[in-house]
């Protein structure tokens, strides 16, 4: 009993640390002001762009990330620890540094642009690339842990029943890992939405929500940055509650 009280106290401190700033910010914005902000064209556009760009990056990560996660969970190979470390790097480094590193590959001076003549800087693609880089570890690690939890004998059983390895993967491993794939995707999408550092370097425009908040704060001060911040928090919060409910239903 005493232990539970002590733990509740410590837990409460943490929750307050998160909740108080959010709460103060939310009550600082008048509902009328919030409503006005919600119909501003550039605000709506930036929020939609953010949600969309992060969705593209998550879908792209699913396409390559699930196979990679499966390999990491099932196969032991030389250099595996290095690969796993590499995947975690985007989480560790400052995201502005990630943005700079990405410029080397996708910037105006890059081989890519020189060869193709295409510059992606300042496009929605660039935003997705920035988001992808910094948020992909959440997806890959979550899916990897999910596959690790599945006894490989399920796949062996499927193969012994005549399934090809591909069929065993799609009919057994994949559906059994569904929960971690969904939760990894939610995490990655969420992390993408909140990304600022890498995005601002690759694409100041078109303007994402995080960049718009930064811009309004820079130009007009906290009072003008708050409404859009609150709006973004409310929208994200509602979406994630819905997604978590859907996830639990699975």
């Amino acid at each position: 009993m005493k232990l539970k009280i002590a733990f509740s106290f410590l837990g409460t401190l943490l929750i307050l640390f998160i909740a108080v700033p959010l709460f103060k910010m939310i009550i600082s914005v008048e509902p009328a002001e919030l409503a006005r902000t919600a119909i501003q064209k550039d605000v709506v556009a930036s929020i939609l762009l953010t949600l969309r760009a992060s969705l593209w990056s998550t879908l792209a990560a699913l396409f390559c990330g699930i196979p990679l996660a499966f390999l990491l969970a099932r196969v032991n190979f030389f250099g595996k620890k290095i690969i796993e470390g590499l995947i975690d790097i985007p989480v560790i480094i400052p995201h502005t540094a990630a943005g700079i590193a990405l410029l080397m590959v996708w910037g105006r001076q890059s081989a890519f642009t020189k060869l193709t003549g295409i510059s992606i800087l300042g496009t929605e693609v660039a935003i997705s690339i920035g988001m992808f880089f910094v948020s992909m570890p959440f997806l890959v690690n979550s899916v990897k842990e999910g596959f690790k939890l599945i006894d490989s004998r399920y796949e062996k059983t499927a193969i012994s029943l005549g399934a090809t390895p591909w069929k065993a993967f799609t009919t057994v491993s994949l559906p059994m890992a569904k929960k971690s794939i969904i939760s990894g995707s939610i995490m990655m999408w969420a992390r993408g939405i909140s990304e600022f550092g890498a995005v601002v370097i690759l694409a100041y425009h078109p303007i994402t929500a995080s960049v718009l908040i930064f811009e309004r704060y820079q130009n007009f001060g906290i009072k003008y940055a708050a409404p859009i911040t609150v709006l973004l928090i409310i929208i994200s919060f509602v979406i994630f509650i819905i997604l978590r409910v859907v996830e639990d239903k699975q």
Binding site: D151, R153, K156, T157, S160, G162
Partner: protein, 336 residues
């Protein structure tokens, strides 16, 4: 015939060495050994799921294999019907054919009423039947059973053993059954191979293996409770002040093993052809269900199995003095 020649494999901490086995078509072959001996790995190699590092497994090509793992590995995201239908659907069988095959198997296994249930909510025995059904509908030539009864209670286990016998007979399938339960091995196997630490130490008919274990470890594992070590000179082993007459003239160091139902208890000394008779005190009586296990201290502790009836009729109990008699030929000797 399935031929396993000189197979070696290192895998996740296990090492399997030098496995030679020839399993005849239609044989019920049991691989018996403690957990961690590498039994599952052998089955997975026979099934072609794991490649041996060295050696060769032949006689499998073109055979249909029914692999059943200890914890059944039912696909948790599919119901009973979908689990059983899994293999047939991979073969792209017609819908009606799949349905009738699944229903027939379910009927035979007594799980027809469970077909639309969630597999996670079944009992152990039911889960196992589903696993058997899933393998059975593929009409395997070879069943590979990996500790299939280890997680079942006694009555379900006996039912399952009957089921394996009938699968074997009806389908004329070869069965390779892996277990750590020597009673199960004795009950089911046409032949038994003993696997210890990744090596086959003995393979023979069940009675042969049971009556003549090849090593001390095998004797321990086969339920020999009286295993003693010492030195044998002029046919005698001296241990703790007593002399046991053994069938071997000289062995040093050596183990001897005596089965607990090869020892006779009596209230008076029996004059017989048996060379070993000792007086001792009963210090414990353990009820083993079908019989009693009596522990007699004759200088060393002897485990003796007797029936409830003889225990009653002899009128003996803890603290009584009794004679323990056994023949020299009942002693198995193993050199270190």
């Amino acid at each position: 015939m399935i031929k396993i020649e000189n197979v070696q494999k290192k895998y996740e901490g296990f090492e399997i060495q030098n496995i030679h086995l020839e399993i005849k078509k239609g044989e019920y072959f049991v691989i018996l050994g403690p957990s961690g001996a590498g039994k599952t790995l052998i089955l997975e190699m026979i099934a072609g799921l794991v490649k041996p590092d060295l050696g060769k497994i032949s006689g499998i090509k073109g055979s249909r294999i029914g692999l059943i793992y200890q914890d059944y590995m039912l696909f948790p995201h599919m119901n009973v019907f979908q689990n059983i239908a899994y293999g047939l659907r991979r073969k792209k069988e017609k819908k009606e054919k799949v349905e009738s095959a699944v229903q027939k198997a379910a009927q035979q296994l007594g799980i027809f009423h469970l077909l639309h249930r969630n597999v996670n909510k079944l009992s152990g025995g039911e889960k196992q039947r589903v696993a058997i059904g899933r393998a059975m509908v593929m009409k395997p030539d070879i069943y590979l059973l990996d500790e299939p009864t280890a997680a079942l209670d006694l009555s379900t286990k006996i039912q399952a053993q009957r089921l394996f016998m009938s699968l074997h007979k009806e389908g004329q399938a070869t069965v390779i059954h892996v277990t750590h339960d020597f009673e199960e091995a004795l009950a089911l196997g046409d032949r038994i191979a003993l696997l210890f630490n990744g090596q086959i130490i003995q393979k023979d008919k069940p009675e042969e293996v049971f009556n003549n274990p090849a090593t001390k470890e095998a004797a321990d594992f086969l339920g020999y409770k009286n295993v003693f070590s010492g030195e044998i000179r002029e046919s005698l082993m001296h241990i703790h002040g007593i002399e046991i007459t053994t069938p071997v003239n000289k062995a040093s160091p050596a183990y001897i093993a005596i089965r607990s139902n090869d020892i006779i208890l009596s209230k008076k000394k029996i004059f017989s052809s048996a060379r070993n008779y000792f007086i001792g005190e009963i210090i414990k009586v353990i009820n083993r269900g079908s019989h009693l296990e009596v522990l007699v201290d004759i200088g060393i502790l002897l485990h003796v199995d007797i029936t409830h009836q003889s225990y009653r009729e002899m009128g003996i109990g803890i603290g009584n003095q009794v004679w323990a008699t056994f023949k020299t030929s009942a002693i198995k000797v193993f050199e270190h």
